[in-house]
Amino acid sequence: MTTLREIFRFEIRHHLRSTTFWLAGAVFFLLAFGAVTTDAIQVGGAVGNVNRNAPYVIAQFLLIFSVLGVFVTTVFVASAVLRDYQHRTDGIFYSTPMSKRDYLLGRFGGAFTVSVLIFVSVALAVIVGSFMPWLEPERVGPFQLIPYVYAMGVLVLPNVLLMSAIFFGVATLTRSMVATYAGLVAFFVGYAVAGTLLSDVENEAAAALVDPFGMAAFQISTQYWTTAERNARILGLEGGILQNRLLWIGVALLILLITYWRFSFTTGAAKGRRRGRKAKVVADAGDELDRPAATEVRVLEGFGGGSRHFGLAASWTQLVHQSRLEVKGVVKSLPFLVILALGVLNFVGTATSTGSLFGTAVHPRTQLMVQIILGGFLLFGVIILTFYSGELVWRDRDVGTDEVHDALPVRSWVLWGSKMVALAVISLAVLAVGALAAVGYQLAQGFTELEPLLYVQAVGLRVGIPVLLVAVLALFTQVLTNNKYLGFLLMVLYYISLPVMNALDLNHRLYQYSQTPPLPYSDMNGYGHFVEPMVWFFTYWGFAALGLLVLVHLLWVRGKETAVRTRLRLAVRRFTGPTRAVAAVAVLGFVGTGTWIFYNTNVLNDYMPPDRLQDRMADYEKEYSRYEGTPQPRITAVYADVDIYPHERAVDIRGTYTVRNKEAVALDSIHLTWNPRVVDSLELGVPGGRVLHEDPYVGWRTYGLAEAMLPGEELELTYRIAVRNPGFVNSGSNTNLVDNGTFFNNASYFPHIGYNDGFELADPVERRRRDLPPIVRMPSLYDSTHYDTNYLTAESDWVDFETVVSTSADQIALAPGYLEREWEEGGRRYFHYTMDAPILGFWSYLSARWEVRRDRWRDVDLAVYYHPEHAYNVDRMIEAAKKSLDYFTREFGPYQHRQVRILEFPGYATFAQSFPNTIPFSESIGFIAKLDDPKDIDYVFYVTAHEIAHQWWAHQVMGADVQGATVTSETMAQYSALMVQEKEYGPEMMRRFLRYELDSYLQGRGGELIEELPLFRVENQGYIHYRKGSLVTYAMRDYIGEEAFNRAMSRYVDAVKFTGPPYTTSLEYLDYLEAEVPERWESKVEDLFRTITLWELEAEGATWEPTDDGRYRVRLDVRSRKYRADGQGNTTETALDEWVDIGVFGAETPDSPAEGEVLFLEKRHVTDTTAVMEIVVDEEPVRAGIDPFNKLIDRNPGNNVTGVERTGG
C-alpha cells in the first residue's frame, strides 16, 4: 500500500511540476472565467435572462469543458505510462519489486486526479467569475454549492474516468504515443459520426444513451427548460442521464480491468519511437566498417568541391530546396494528417445540415461550401498553422541540426524564409484540401455547377490571404519570444483578442490584425462592393506583415546567442541597406494605405462603433420620446420619384406626402425624423413651415406652422433624399443598395412624421447601461388609446400610392402597384407604378437583373422574378401561389389585387416579406432548397403560402398597435399556410412540420429575454405568433372543425378588412372565434389562446385481450397532467378537464402514419391524473396512445404512444 501511495504521490508531483498542467489549467480557467464574465467568449452559456451562474449553466459549462478536456486528460494518462519508455527508465522501474497493481493504479490514479484538478479550476473560474463587480446583478444568482457538486460528480467525474481509462488503456497496451493520439482521433471521429447518425429527433433515446459524455442526455433532458427552470433546477440523477452514467462508468471500469489484465512488466515493446537525436538504437557494426580505409591515404582536397555560387540565384535555389524539405517534414507528420482529417470530417458533418430548414436540405451551391470552409474548416487550418509555426521554427534545434545549418553559407533570409514559405504552403494546402472536400461533397450530392472561379476567389484569396497574414504573425511570435509555448500563448491571446475587442466596441479593423470588413457573398450580387474595402485592408495588413517579416529577419536566432541584449545588438547590425529599404516600404505602405482606409471609413463615412450607435439611439429616445403620441398629421397619399443607381449604390428620392390633420385639434408643428445612418442629404419642404428645432445628429427636425393646421385640413410635404454610400466603411456596409439585388423599404430611407419607436434601442442590457427604462414592446391589449394606430406605422393609415422608379438599363425596378408605363431615357429604364386602392404605409423598391416566369390564376397575373441560376423551385412557388389563392379566396374572401409578384433578393437577409401584391423573397430561404425527396418538408411551398396569406392577414386585416397585433397577421398567415400545405401534402406531413414548430416554440420559450406572453397578447415574439400560433390554431381547428374555424376567420375578415382607425385587435378576433366554438370546447380557447398551458401526457402501458366475438379489447394506462405557466416559465398544475385524442394503431402500411394504421381515434374525456382507457378494435393492435399526433403542447412528445402487449402472453 505504501508503494501504491508513493507511486500515486510521485505521479501527482510530476504533473504538478509540468508546464502542461499549469498551461492547461490556466487556459481552462481563463476560458471559463471569460465565458462567465464577458459576452465575448461563448462556451454554451447563459442567454437571455438565464443567470450567468445558473445551475443549468454550470452543468453545461463543465460538461462542455469535460469534452474539450479529453485532450489534456489524454496527455496526462499517456504520459503516466509512456514516460518510462520515452526517458528509457522502463528498465529501472520494471525491475523493481513493485507490484503491477501498485504501478498501474498509482500511475492511473495520479494522472486521473490531476485531470480532475483541471476541471476544478473550471468550477473555480465560474465561482470567482460570478462575483465580478462588472456583471449586471440581475444576471447573477446567489452562490450555491450543490450545482457544482452535481456537475462535478455526475457529469465531469464519470467523463474524466472514462476518458482516462480509455486512453490509459490504449497507451499502456500499445506503448506508443502515436497510437494513443491515433486512438484519440479515432474516438472523436466515431463520436462525430455517431452524433450525426443519431441526430434525428426520433433517435433521442438512443442518442442519450450512446453519447459517452452524456451531452446528448443532458441536452435532451433540458432542451425545453424555461428561464425560471434553468435558474433553479438541477437535472437530478434519473432517466436518460442516470442510464447513461451507469453504462459508461461500467465501460470505464471494464476497460481498466482489461488494461490491468493485459499489462506486463516487459521493456522495449515498441519500436520506432526512440527516434531523434543520438538514436543509438541499432548498434550498427556495419560490414563496411571492417574494411581498412586507412590503407590508402588519399588527400581529400577538392573532394567535396566544385564551383560554388552565393548570388541571388543561388539563394533562391536554396530557398526552394529548404522549403521543400520543411514542407515534406510537416506534410508527412502525424498531427498534420490527423488535424486535417478531422477538418474534413467536420466539413462533411456541417455540410449536411448547413442551410437546411425544417430538415430539408439545400442545393450544395459553392457559396454555401465556401461558408462552411470559412466557418468550421478554417479553424482546423488555423490550429495547424499555429502548431507548425512552432514546430518549423524549432525543428532544427529540436532535431539538433541547428549548428550545422546556421554555419552554412546561406543568407539568413533563406533560413527563416523557408519556414515562412513552408508555413504558407501548408496553410494553402489545407485550404485546397478543404476546397477538394467541398467539391467532393458537391459531386457526391449529384451537384455539378461547381464554380471553380468562386473557389479560387473565396478559398484562395478571401480565406487564403488572411491565413497567410496570420501565418506571418505566428512566425513572428515564435521568433520574437524564442520560446515555442510562449509563442503559442501569444497566438492564442491574439485569437481571443479579436472577439474580445469587438465585445468592447473596439471594432475598427485598422487595429485588428489581419481583419477586414465582412465579405458576404450572394449568388445574385457576388461579392459586390465588399471587395474594394477588403482589398485595401488586405494591402494594409500585407504591409504590416512585411514589417513583421523585417523584424523576423532582424531577430532571427542564428547560432547560439539567445540573450535579449545580444539579439538586439545583432539586430542592429543586421539592419543594413536592403533591410532598411524593405522596412521603409513596409512602413510607408502601412501608413499610406492606413491613411486611405481611415479617409474612407472615418472621413467619408461616420465611423461609429456599436456602443456609439447605441448611444445615439438612446439619445434619440431620451430627447424625443416625449413626442410619442403627440398629435401629428397623417400621410394619406404618397408620390415618389426614385432613381436607383445600382452600380454606384446610390439612390435619389424626390416626392411628396399628402398629410391630413385627422385629429380633433389644430396642429401648429410638424416633427420629421429620419435615419441619419443611411441618409446622406435631405431637403424637406413644409408649406408655411419654419424650422424651430434641428438635430441632424439623430435625425430630427421640428417645423412650426405659420398657420395651424385645422382638423381635416390637408398639406403637401415635399422631400428630397440622397443616399450615397461614399467610399467604404469599416463595418455594417449597406446591403440594401447593391449592384444586383437592391431592396429597400420606406422605413429605412423615407422621412417619418413624428417620433419613430422603430429607432429605439431594444437590447435590455444596453438599455439598462444607458439608464433607459425597460422597453415597452407593445402597449397593453386593453389600452384602447392605441387602437387608433396600426402596428406597422403610426404616421399613416391607408394611403394612395404612386411612384416612378428608374434604374440602370440592364435591370428591372419594382415597387408595389401596377405598371402604368415603362420607358427608356438617358440610358436608364423607368417604371411608373400606381396602386388602384389604398394600402398601408409600407412599401418597397427592388432592382435587379432578373429572369421572369409568368403564369395566371383566374384573372390574377403571377410572376416570379428570379436570379437566372436559381430556377430550381420557381415552379413550386407558382404552384403554391395558385393553391393558396384557391384556398384563401374560397375560405376567407376575395383577393384585393390583380397580380402576385415574388421577387428574389440577395441572401444578405433571410426572410420573405409581403408588400401589397409584391413579395420580396430571400435567395437563401427557398430558391436553393433541394426538394428532390418527396418525404422532405416543402418549406418553399409553406413560405410562399404564408406570404400570400399576408395579403389577407396584414394587408386587409390590420391590427392596432397593441399586444396581440401579430395574431391577426402572422398567426393567421401561419394557419392559412398550414391548411394549403395540408391539402397538398396530407396530415402526416403536417405532423412532421408541427413537430418542428413545437420544438421551435419550446426552445424559443427557453431563450425568452423578457417575458413569455399568452398568444392573444403576444408582443411581436416570433416563437409565439409563428410557432405556437401554428400549434394552437391547428389544435383549435381540430376541436371545432375546419369549416367552423374558417367561418370565424372569413366573418372576421369581412367585418374588419381595410378598416382603421380604429384598428382591430386579437380580442375582436376571439369574439368571432368563440361564436363558432361549441360549449364543450370553450375551455380550449382559454387554454390555447388566453393562457400559457402545457400538457404532460404519457401512455404508460397497454395490453389487449380477445373479446368473445373475436375482436380486441385494449386497455391503455394513461397519465395526464396540465400546467399553467407564467411569463418566466414557472408552472403550476391545474385541474384536468380535457378531451384528448386516444388512438389505437395496427400494423404499419405504406400509407399509414408512422404509428401504424389508425384503428381507433377519438377524443375521450380525461379528468384524472391516471386513467385506464378501454377500447375495442377490429384488428390486432400494435400501438396505442394518448394525443398520439401531438396536437397539444407537451414537453415530452415522445412518450405519448406505447406498444400494446397481449395479456398473459
Binding site: E288, Q318, Q322, K332
Partner: protein
C-alpha cells in the same frame, strides 16, 4: 599561400556568470591543430565562436585577411563545421541530406553537386549505406556523415568539435583516418578531450582549461621537453595523499586493479619510482597542473 587563424584576447562570460573564455589568444596555422581540454574547458564556446555561431564579449579573430566576427557571411563560405552534438532528420537518407546541404553550401550546379556528394559518400565509406535513413545510422556512421557534410564545398577552415566522444575504438580510428586525409592547406581545428586524438593526428596543439590557454605547442616538442622527467610507481591507494604532498603528481591511473602514479621530477625521486618514456598524456596532465584526473586515462 599559407592561411593562418589568429585568435586574439578572446573573452566570453555567459549570463549565468560562467567565464567560458578568458583572454584566449591562439595562432592556428594550416594543418591539423588539436585543441585539448577537459569537459567544460570552453572548447565548444571557442569552436562556435570561430564557426560564427557565438559572439565574444571581447577580442578578435582573423582568418587570413578575414575578420571572422564581422564578416560572417564570408567565413561561412569557406567553413566546414562538425558540431560536437548534432542531430539529423531521422527520416531522410544520407544521400538526400548531403545533396540538400550541398545546395545550401552553394553547390547549386546539379552535376557538380552530384559528383561532390558521391565522392564524399565514397570517401567516408557511406556509399553502401547512402539510401538508408539517417535515423538508423550508428554513432560512427553518423560522425562520418557529419564529416562528409563538413567537407562539402571544399572548405579552407574545418572545425571539428569533439568528434570521437562516444565512439568505439575501431570507429574512432576510422574517423581519425578520415580526418588525416584532409588537405595540407586547410586549417583544421580538432577539439577533443582525448589525448590520443591529438597525438595521433596533430602537428600543433593547445591545452585549454577553464577558459584559459595553458599551453600552445607542437606535440613532439612538448613530449621532448618532458623527457627524463616523468617517473612512475605502483602504489597502495591509501598512500596517495601523502605521496601528493611529497611529489608533483601528474596523474594516477589504475592498471589491473592497482594504482599507478606518474610524478614530475627533474631528478630521480627514488622511493621505487622508475623513469618512464613521457607521452602526450603526461604533457597534458602536467599542463593541467596538479589536479588529479584519475579516469582520464581510460
Amino acid at each position: 599561400m599559407s592561411l593562418e587563424l589568429h585568435i586574439e584576447h578572446l573573452s566570453r562570460t555567459y549570463p549565468g556568470g560562467v567565464q567560458a573564455l578568458k583572454d584566449v589568444s591562439l595562432t592556428v596555422p594550416t594543418g591539423m591543430f588539436g585543441l585539448l581540454g577537459p569537459n567544460g574547458a570552453g572548447k565548444s564556446t571557442l569552436m562556435r565562436t570561430i564557426a560564427t555561431l557565438q559572439e565574444p564579449d571581447a577580442g578578435a579573430i582573423s582568418l587570413g585577411s578575414l575578420d571572422v566576427l564581422a564578416e560572417k557571411e564570408e567565413v561561412r563560405k569557406i567553413l566546414g563545421y562538425l558540431p560536437q552534438d548534432f542531430g539529423v532528420y531521422p527520416r531522410v537518407s544520407a544521400e538526400e541530406m548531403l545533396t540538400h546541404l550541398a545546395v545550401l553550401k552553394g553547390l547549386t550546379g546539379r552535376g557538380e553537386r552530384r559528383d561532390a556528394v558521391e565522392a564524399l559518400l565514397h570517401q567516408t565509406n557511406l556509399w553502401e549505406a547512402r539510401k538508408r535513413k539517417l535515423g538508423t545510422y550508428s554513432g560512427g556512421m553518423r560522425q562520418r556523415f557529419g564529416i562528409a557534410q563538413a567537407l562539402l564545398g571544399d572548405p579552407r577552415l574545418v572545425i571539428v568539435d569533439e568528434p570521437t566522444a562516444g565512439l568505439d575504438p575501431a570507429e574512432r580510428l576510422r574517423f581519425l583516418n578520415l580526418l588525416s586525409e584532409i588537405g595540407e592547406n586547410v586549417v583544421v581545428i580538432l577539439s577533443t578531450h582525448i589525448v590520443e586524438d591529438v597525438s595521433d593526428l596533430c602537428s600543433r596543439m593547445a591545452v585549454i582549461s577553464q577558459g584559459e590557454v595553458l599551453l600552445q605547442t607542437a606535440p613532439q616538442n612538448a613530449v621532448a621537453d618532458l623527457h627524463g622527467k616523468v617517473w612512475e610507481k605502483v602504489v597502495d591507494k591509501r598512500t596517495l595523499p601523502s605521496l601528493e604532498e611529497e611529489h608533483r603528481v601528474i596523474s594516477t591511473h589504475l592498471w589491473a586493479g592497482r594504482t599507478v602514479v606518474h610524478v614530475f621530477s627533474e631528478e630521480d625521486p627514488g622511493q621505487g619510482f622508475q623513469a618512464v618514456e613521457a607521452d602526450l598524456k603526461d604533457v597534458y596532465f602536467t599542463a593541467l597542473g596538479s589536479r588529479p584526473a584519475e579516469q582520464e586515462a581510460a
